[in-house]
Subunit: 337 residues, 4 copies
């Protein structure tokens, strides 16, 4: 950790800071620059919060050298984590393709869709039972009944189930019925919820916050891992930018960045990113060759009849051709489904 002192700090202000630093178990290196003094801290600095230092009057600003995350870090574990989602491996050369409608709908349709998607190449089935909606007047999902229908689809196909959890109140229900618990973009920094996830051992699909940095995202993964649950898959789903032609901007650079910084798998959701169904295939292909470990895709037999997010949902025909176009790319990247 590097501390840059203000140019015009007083002797008392400097002493007040140094006194505080002495209480940490770190070495203190002082470098007198041309225009200002710099203090370098060496030791277990990821235990020191930046705001415990920046509060001192003598301090101009602070830079961390070491990453603030630890267990999520590639330097903590160099080997790729392979997450096992009820038998389907993700990461380290294993590719996941989760597909299904945005919301859980009628039971027959769910089962029929799951059967077809599996035949086309999907290896997980996704559907929302609890829906985060910006309007209190919008459809909020089928709730518990939705999870039951997902279970029926699983029994028919064997596909592991992916579904979003919005509240710790429903955690037990999810542990029982869901194989990969999705945490949505708006809950990425719901720290109370993250702490609860650390106490279970189900795999977590942690979506990136709408405007979260990589570091904030990894810190949220760290929350879960610090609690003891290391089965975390990161999911890039588009970030908010000024562009209005698409709903969000897919950040594929996240893939090589995260591959260098963490051992956790990283998958791409091209449906939510653009919010436009025609973009799902090109962005899925781009995700594969950029090094991603999987895809999460909204697919529905009739997108115009989908209960939610229809505009970004592909038809089963499109999904089939998407998988067909992906095959040679997966081969080139030596990835196996």
């Amino acid at each position: 950790m590097i501390i840059m002192l203000k140019q015009n700090h007083t002797k008392e202000q400097r002493e007040s800071l140094l006194e505080a630093l002495r209480e940490y178990n770190v070495q203190v290196h002082k470098v007198q620059g041309e225009s200002r003094e710099i203090i370098g801290l060496v030791g277990e600095t990821n235990r020191i919060s930046t705001d415990s230092i920046s509060k001192f009057d003598a301090v101009e600003r602070i830079e961390r050298i070491a990453e603030p995350y630890k267990q999520a870090s590639r330097s903590f574990q160099s080997k790729d984590t392979i997450v096992d989602v009820d038998g389907v491996k993700v990461g380290g050369g294993h590719f996941m393709i989760a597909a299904g409608p945005c919301s859980v709908e009628d039971e027959d349709l769910m089962v029929e869709t799951a059967i077809k998607l599996k035949a086309m190449g999907a290896n997980m089935f996704r559907g929302g039972a609890f829906k985060p909606r910006t309007s209190p007047y919008s459809f909020q999902g089928l709730g518990k009944e939705g999870l039951r229908r997902l279970q029926v689809a699983k029994q028919e196909t064997g596909l592991p189930i992916v579904s979003e959890l919005m509240s710790a109140d429903n955690l037990d229900m999810f542990v029982e019925n869901v194989d990969l618990i999705q945490i949505g973009t708006r809950n990425m920094q719901n720290f109370s919820l993250l702490k609860e996830l650390g106490k279970i051992d189900k795999p977590i699909l942690l979506k990136r916050g709408l405007t979260a940095t990589y570091e904030e995202w990894l810190m949220s993964a760290e929350y879960i891992m610090a609690g003891g649950n290391t089965n975390v898959i990161l999911c890039e789903r588009g970030i908010r930018t000024f562009e209005t032609g698409t709903r969000n901007t897919l950040d594929l650079q996240a893939v090589p960045y995260l591959k260098s910084k963490t051992h956790l798998p990283i998958v791409i959701d091209p449906s939510h990113a653009a919010g436009i169904r025609d973009f799902v295939t090109p962005m899925s292909k781009a995700a594969i060759v950029s090094g991603a470990d999987g895809l999460v895709i909204e697919a529905h037999p009739n997108p115009e009849k989908a209960w939610s997010d229809g505009q970004q949902t592909v038809s089963l025909e499109t999904f089939e051709s998407l998988v067909r176009a992906s095959k040679p790319l997966l081969d080139l990247e030596q990835l196996q489904i």
Copy 2:
């Protein structure tokens, strides 16, 4: 609601959309433009979610005419809402000044600080018992014990208590001990939590999400109001921008904007906005003359010893001179504390 059709839609795609529109209880107006057709919907369109329309292949994009929020809207209630926080009025000419340390600290210090702040002009006392921290390794607050200490400070001073709630699990504890329940920036779209807040009648201080638009913010207020709790105070606390010289960018235009769109009170938190204690006084003054209904300020007897957020916390001396400088401005704006 205006629906713009794609230029090259097919007859079937158009018919598929029109068929769906017939199921809503709205009038359908068609306008054939030079380059494309437009459909205007007239009626209770705030019950129609945009994604139930945009999913149709014929649709290029959609614009809402009416605001998606209802009870929060100035057209629903023209008169300013005045929220009563255990006797302290906020809105409609009544100005609140909540002050106190970021985190609840030692009991004696809390009581002593509350007494001084009250004497200087604060009419509420704030302090965090549950702290949202980006790192699982940072101090997470005193929890329930923190609320107890806030209660002691209230007993000594009579100042209503403001504190942040992070999880519905603690709601009862907050209803009992806190007078103005703060929802932090990261939970502005924690819809599960917002629904719970709708069921109580305690005043809520709803902070703006880090990159939320005014409309998203008002929709979160609507969540609470739709549940039956209309005691909502909005709090602007800075938004994320590309600027790194300050922590966040204070958006004071929010004040005149919200005054025109909603009847709810709007207050300003200049401490979190810049994250720099020297900016708290000028931005507090700017908030007052821009038309805000109050201030939320982090103050501490010794900011360098504050347990958290010390860099943005003002000393009691600074708080005193801030209030002194604010007095003539409050008079000019005809606001009463």
Copy 3:
């Protein structure tokens, strides 16, 4: 164009607006909604600036239906534009790979690098003679002498030259020495310069502004085309986001979006996007499969000795393996270099 009136406009305000609308050669459709009145304009509305309407007191807001650009639009010309850069075709199935150092350096090194890059698969040679630098104290490029050295490299290899123009003062010099004139991100809305580019017939490589929307970018292309120069290639080079782990965020969704809206070619610059040389290969591959028409890549025999932008510059060995990895993808996409 759709005009939404304010809810509480007066009769006079409304009349004042309608009077102004009568002066335009457009049809005026009025729709009385539940909460407010809407006016639809039909006709040549791209000649009406939004601010000539929004200034009326009666107006709440305005939405354009037709795109504000015309010649750049896919509906103006459905067939892909193929730009001819001194014999190298770009667009409509023809793929360009421009490579070379950030700045023009020593003559021998330039010639030798161009020869090697050509052998490896590049079909254009790039180098900066005039450099836009945020600091007046940084190296500003070799200027005219730089263009001369690029010409020498061209004479030795036959590769067309790509270089950035910063000021209309140097336009003649560029027309004489450069085959594809690059307009950098900071000049995308230098309208005076864009107008001058409309008067020549050299191909233009128009980089996206750092935070420009697709529409603003296409409007800048329209400036050039409106002047008579239709040889415009669009170049996505990363946009500014909150992410600090990379310099900018590459927006590959721009490719399918622009392909649907414009007939102009779109190429990707993965070097400037991340600002990290290790990301150039994966993002180049992603660009190809997302449908891009080319790549612009910074390459140097010894990136650590590069005069500028070395951190994002790949070595010649890396460039060679990048092209090798791209070949099967170009084949799959049926693109020819």
Copy 4:
């Protein structure tokens, strides 16, 4: 300047970097941290560009300690710069109020408006002769004739003239006719133009780029000052954020920030910030109490008839009451017009 080395750099990579550092005239301090090595450079580091260091394979990232700007810095000159605009002082307690229509319009209207604005309290007159428009089909300003009309208004009132320069081609014309040359938001990083401005001694009103950071903005001021022209006034005019309820977000924290970092005056343009005329008065008041040195306001006898930007233009009546409301605030801040 602090250089953080990669965790897994090789000996050769490290040596390659150190060899390069030896060529700079700086002291090199090495600190071996727990997880990685840090190198501190002491000396005239603002002559070292970051990209000349970050290109080395051994380097993870770099932090500047000293500001990259020099002449613009408060540490270079502690006393407030007072810019003299043809007799009207700006900065150091002197407050400017520039007002006038967005575009130069009919001569009589310009003269009449200037006379009234002066009587109401304006001390400069503004109007656009050359207009930066996103569409090539929009009105582009009266050009040279516009400057002539501004001169007539000056002759009648004595008010110094403020107008925007878009191209170095017109520099002589501006030096002759304009007293405060405005550089618009889209040209803030038009480095070729900035260099030309350094060669004259007319005062420059440098608007902040739409998404520029404070540091980038000050670096653009530095470009002008490095050329020899120290008469620079900074103008905050709103930055691009995700908010769509207003056109841009006014960043008033820029005022205290810049006051601490630079000696140059800083003024506020509340018209362009929100793009809404009703917000001009509250934001003008907020600007004054936040410590700004002046205001730039679009005012017109009949905003609905304004040739451009009418929606953000205040009427003369509103301008008059704005000045009246500002008077007590200017007195409290001890500012003189």
